[in-house]
Amino acid sequence: MKGMTKLQANLCLLCVTMCWSTEVIIFACIPGSVPGFATTCITSAIGSAILIASFYKRIAEAIRKSGRKLILACLFLSILNGAYNTMYIYGLKDFDVSTGAFTISMTVVVLPVILLSLRRRVELHTWLSAGMVLIGITLSLIGKVHIGQMTGFLLVLGGCLTRAVYIVFVNRFAREHDPLAVSALMTGMVAITSFGMWYFVEPRTFAAIEWNKQIIASLFIYSYFIVAFAQTINFFAQRRATAASSTVIYSLEIVFSIIWGLVLPASIIDPVPLTLSTAIGALFVVAGSLIELVDFKALLKKGAVTNEG
């Protein structure tokens, strides 16, 4: 057991991003009458139960070893996670799928600022990358947002700032503790806190949902792939990657969202019209990712060596 290589970690983060981008497809199978907090509560509870049942010995060992520190870390992450998800849920109501996805990509732009405020060093290519993504977002949003969406925009911006802090701390805690234990415990805590919010908006909770096979299946699918699978892989990959490179890979979610909107039938996902500004915006996001992920210095060096040879 050697631990993932950088290449493997980056591919894992790409896979995680792709899984997250399919959220809209799974959500399409859940009726709008099911509150967002209900979905978060049930899927987190199932995801956490799966992880604890599969790795209870390892998780118990991690709790025994790190104790209060681990619990507090998970609690902190679950609060951040709940906060940014809630801001996204309410903020995104003001946007369509494409505009909303681009707006969420702002996380990559605010991350370097968060890193600086935490007195972390930010590399030049990270700033360049954030700049490219910002150009991409701006291009895609021109003419599509108006002043009436300001509340939604500010909520999403708040969500992005919180998410950036969350990513920085996931990156730190995944190195300090067992990522599997962090993933399982944090998910369990998210389930508990979102149950509280769910109870607040709908006191009848489970009894208020008109259960059918499709809702149950969708919730299980979400629990396996978005919660248990993607989140655990994300925590392990973050251990081997930097917060900046992780965030940049996450920003590729917009590219996946555009692809799903183009190739999947309208019965599964709302079609996303591919305009010129959307396409150029997505290209800038991809370019920004490449700047962060590809080691151009090493490539140039290699090229120079080859030319000399």
Binding site: M1, M4, T5, Q8, L11, C12, C15, C29, K213
Partner: protein, 180 residues
């Protein structure tokens, strides 16, 4: 001692079939061609069962597929071909990494990841070549070309996109050893 080993193998087999069913059954609500084929992320388990559990894993994968067909009321004569293909596909991956490849299974390099992707795509084509004629023979109304493409996509895309990261996690972080 031998009895214990057999019971361990049986327990592992049972667990693998249960995992298969737990993942596959919810996806029966997302059918693309009703009654025949659907979006099947469960196929990501094929190479994983093959690489980490060998022939017994391949059998569990095929059995899981057959039981899913039974419980979802999709049992047809073509399921015999489905059983053979769902055992054969993962078994070819197992054969490649244990008999043909000169190095033992590891996806730490880009070259090996590409090799694994190629093997998965080839086995997906073979799987489709086994299942499609059987379905076309029993149900002539089915668009065989579309069906074949769907099988290849299902059998290749999910093991590549989701299966490979899961293999990284199992082998590099959770300590699973490839089956020899």
């Amino acid at each position: 001692m031998k009895d214990k080993k057999i019971s361990d193998v049986l327990l592992t087999f049972l667990l693998q079939v249960i995992v298969y069913l737990v993942v596959s059954i919810p996806f029966k609500v997302m059918e693309v061609i009703p009654g025949f084929t659907d979006i099947r992320p469960v196929t990501l388990l094929g190479p994983i069962y093959a690489v980490f559990f060998g022939p017994q894993g391949c059998l569990a994968f095929a059995a899981g597929n057959l039981i899913t067909d039974i419980v979802s009321d999709s049992l047809r004569w073509s399921c015999i071909a489905g059983f053979i293909a769902n055992f054969g596909g993962p078994y070819l991956i197992y054969l490649y990494w244990t008999r043909i490849s000169k190095e033992s299974f590891s996806l730490r390099t880009g070259k090996n990841i590409l090799k694994h992707i190629a093997v998965v795509i080839i086995t997906a084509v073979i799987t489709s070549a086994i299942i499609t004629p059987a379905v076309a023979l029993v149900y002539p109304d089915v668009d065989a070309a579309l069906f074949a493409v769907m099988v290849v996509l299902n059998t290749a895309a999910f093991p590549i996109v989701l299966g490979i990261p899961l293999i990284f996690l199992m082998q590099e972080e959770l300590g699973f050893e490839p089956h020899k």
